[in-house]
């Protein structure tokens, strides 16, 4: 119904009332800009939380050498059971275990009565600890760097890092600090996504392959031995051997704050090859793996177990000589996550110990989606106000421009031409406002993330939605005034003063 000519007429009419047009466009722009900014903040928060979940290790899988508990060949799911909790809350074993021929042994696998200090040791199995039967497994050094290399080839695996851990005296001049030493792989910073290097860098793959004596200090350890001065380029000593400090690592995460005694930042990182060379070792304590997607963790865990059993030539009836766990539970339990965040997670999820990672991230997703919806709702109100502003202007226009409508009708405009003109004017107003609003929203989102460090994400979908909403508002709020305009009687309109 709207030809190009009608569009030209509408645009000309808008040009005649510049101030009115400009003010209406500004109103609309504020509405659309607000919507876009709010959506950007909401989805940004969603992405940030996802990021933090990964940073806190929700996609982390740790393979530890040895197996402090024997599992039956029918593995019951990664050993996610906390012994004492299970003992108190659930004395009756779950049905699947009952099917097993050796019931007491399976119960042992689930928990050991001696783990609970309050337990009376008169249990029939108390004298028969399985660890005694499987002697040596609990402390076995069974993982090698070849295992780690093999794991790098698995599907769904993102990064793999070797690990050797010790407690160590870190010395610099006359300052000493008792801390953790991690011999690790150059890829560790990719796994610890929240890491940031306040000064310097991580060691390089070249330094790793040569087994160089280079060290990266955790922020806490660095502060203890160097105070506030920059440790990069200085020398520290480990095992009375000189090491050159190449970097200091800290965190951007608000979930994990560096503190004395924590494993990540009260620590020293050196290449695992250096540890092997200096201490004449060849095994690893553990291997850290990240799954490419958080939802894939359980599957990757199973794959890892399968591959390592194969490599270690473990026959079907024998238990694993390694343990595969996820970091998420440890992080939550150890308070690596901020107390309030952990509380929120625990409070939202019943039976945290049984919860899967997928459920956990879904809970957080839900929370942020609620926030996005709330923000978008607030913004929608401003959009509505913008739309009513357009309607107001258009209605006023119809009254103010009655004579113009009469003139147009006299020279041959049909009622529908007048209607199209007014609708197009409204749509043009709202679209112009929409485009300006989108630009303003982009700038605002940019500014928020730059100056307030809020994370914002603007998706093409959000932009399209904003344009669509702007046009819809124009048509919706322009339709009634346009109808009024088209209904005016030409003779009355011509006489209108």
């Amino acid at each position: 119904m709207a030809s190009r000519t009608t569009l030209a007429i509408a645009l000309r009419a808008l040009r005649r009332n510049r101030l009115q047009t400009a003010l209406t466009i500004v109103g609309m722009a504020i509405g659309v800009g607000a919507v876009l900014t709010m959506i950007a903040i909401g989805t940004g928060a969603e992405a940030a939380i996802e990021d933090q979940i990964k940073a806190a290790g929700m996609n982390l899988i740790v393979v530890t050498a040895g197996n402090y508990k024997v599992k039956s060949t029918e593995d019951f799911g990664g050993g996610a059971v906390e012994p004492s909790a299970r003992n108190q809350s659930d004395p009756v074993p779950d049905p699947p275990f009952e099917a097993h021929e050796s019931r007491p042994a399976v119960l042992l696998a689930a928990y050991h009565p001696e783990d609970d200090p309050m337990e009376k040791h008169n249990h029939p199995t108390a004298k028969q600890r399985l660890g005694d039967n499987e002697a040596g497994l609990g402390s076995a050094a069974t993982l090698t760097s070849d295992d780690a290399e093999a794991l790098r080839g698995l599907g769904g695996v993102q990064y793999v890092a070797e690990g050797i851990h010790q407690n160590i005296h870190l010395k610099a001049g006359d300052r000493r600090w008792f801390t953790r030493l991690h011999g690790t792989d150059v890829r560790l910073p990719l796994i610890r996504r929240a890491w940031t290097f306040g000064s310097g860098r991580f060691f390089s793959s070249r330094e790793q392959s040569r087994g160089d004596q280079v060290a990266v200090l955790g922020a806490v350890a660095a502060q203890r031995v160097f105070g506030d001065s920059n440790p990069v380029g200085r020398e520290v000593s480990l095992w009375n051997q000189p090491f050159r400090v190449v970097g200091v690592v800290s965190t951007t995460s608000w979930m994990v704050a560096p503190a004395p005694g924590d494993d990540q930042f009260d620590a020293v990182y050196i290449p695992f090859t250096t540890v092997h060379r200096l201490l004449n070792l060849s095994k690893l304590n553990d291997i850290t793996i990240t799954a490419a997607s958080t939802g894939d963790v359980t599957r990757v865990m199973a794959e890892v177990t399968k591959l390592l059993r194969q490599r270690h030539r473990i026959t079907e009836e024998r238990p694993d000589d390694f343990t595969v766990t996820t970091q998420a539970r440890q992080a939550l339990a150890k308070g690596g996550m901020r107390a309030d965040v952990a509380r929120a997670v625990v409070g939202n999820v019943g039976g945290l110990e049984k919860v899967t990672l997928e459920q956990l991230s879904k809970t957080l997703d839900r929370a942020t989606r609620t926030m996005t919806a709330l923000l978008a709702g607030i913004a929608a109100v401003s959009l509505l106000v913008g739309g009513i502003g357009i309607m107001n202007i258009m209605l006023l226009s119809v009254t103010e421009r009655t004579r113009e409508i009469g003139i147009r009708r006299a020279v041959g405009a049909r009622a529908r031409d007048v209607r199209s003109q007014f609708i197009l004017e409204a749509v043009a107003l709202s679209l112009a406002g929409g485009v300006i609003g989108i630009l303003a929203g982009l700038v605002a989102a940019r500014g928020l993330s730059q100056y307030l460090r809020w994370s914002t994400t603007i998706s093409p979908g959000a932009v399209l939605l904003s344009v669509g909403v702007a046009a819809a508002v124009g048509i919706f709020f322009g339709w009634y005034p346009a109808k009024q305009a088209a209904r005016l009687d030409p003779i009355q309109s011509l006489r209108y003063e």
Binding site: I407, A410, G412, A413, R414, D417
Partner: protein, 256 residues
């Protein structure tokens, strides 16, 4: 021009009744008359005599309550609103007392307005401008094309309105009190334009006025009273605007 020609306008027992707050108002009580192509008809009468209502019906702005109106042989008394719009666009040009130009719009854009509503074919913007410029030149305002109405004098505004009315080459030019807002000299200028349109281009002009002196410029004078035609005669002593303009130029102070 030839008396044997079929009438351009044939009104047959046209009545128009308005319902004003319950009481019906009979604006036209049966008007029958023919107007032939090329006539310059002056319609006079006191206010409320029905002459404006008659003009609205002739201009297809309104429909008669009863009776028949043939425009160029076609019965238009019961056409739809869209069809009437299209007739207004192509066959009728209006000139009003209040000029009725779009404010804050250049003379050129005002003049090309009817072409924007030409629905049979799309006219390119360049062609619209060309024709609008030609129409402005015809009323001597080619150098005022970019002026807005508030930058033009009353006479110039009315000439812009005439240019707009003539743009689509209408069969009829309907002028409703075109000199009502003009001083006497400018009024004569407008009448001069009308007489030349009649004489040179054969355009049918229907001029509504309540001033008998202005009606004297027409070639036929129809008098309305109480919704009826009370007299209808050819004006043999037609005033010649061109000659008067020359006289006024010699004696500028004299009021005509």
């Amino acid at each position: 021009m030839n008396p044997g020609d079929p009438a351009l306008i044939a009104a047959d027992e046209i009545t128009k009744t308005y319902a004003m707050e319950g009481a019906p108002v009979h604006a036209l009580r049966g008007v029958t008359l023919d107007i032939r192509r090329g006539e310059f008809v002056a319609v006079v009468g006191p206010s409320g005599s029905g002459k404006s209502t008659f003009m609205h019906i002739l201009g297809c702005l309104d429909r008669p309550t009863s009776g028949r109106y043939l425009l160029d042989g076609r019965d238009v008394s019961h056409l739809s609103d869209d069809e009437l719009s299209s007739i207004r666009n192509r066959q009728i040009g209006f000139v009003f007392q209040g000029f009725n130009l779009l404010a804050r719009t250049s003379a050129l854009e005002n003049v090309e307005l009817p072409l924007l509503y030409e629905n049979r074919m799309r006219i390119a913007p360049a062609e619209r401008r060309r024709r609008a410029m030609a129409a402005l030149a015809a009323v001597g305002l080619q150098d005022r094309a970019a002026h807005h109405p508030n930058q033009l004098s009353g006479g110039q505004q009315q000439r812009v309105a005439i240019a707009r009315a003539l743009l689509n080459d209408p069969a009829i030019l309907l002028a409703d009190e075109p000199t009502g807002n003009l001083d006497s000299r400018t009024s004569i200028e407008v009448m001069d334009i009308f007489q030349r349109l009649k004489d040179e281009r054969g355009i049918t002009i229907i001029l509504i006025t309540h001033e008998p002196q202005v009606a004297e410029y027409g070639s036929r004078i129809i008098r309305f009273k109480d919704g009826r035609v009370v007299s209808d005669h050819a004006n043999t002593s037609r005033r010649a605007a061109a000659a008067e303009l020359e006289a006024v130029a010699l004696e500028p102070a004299r009021d005509v």
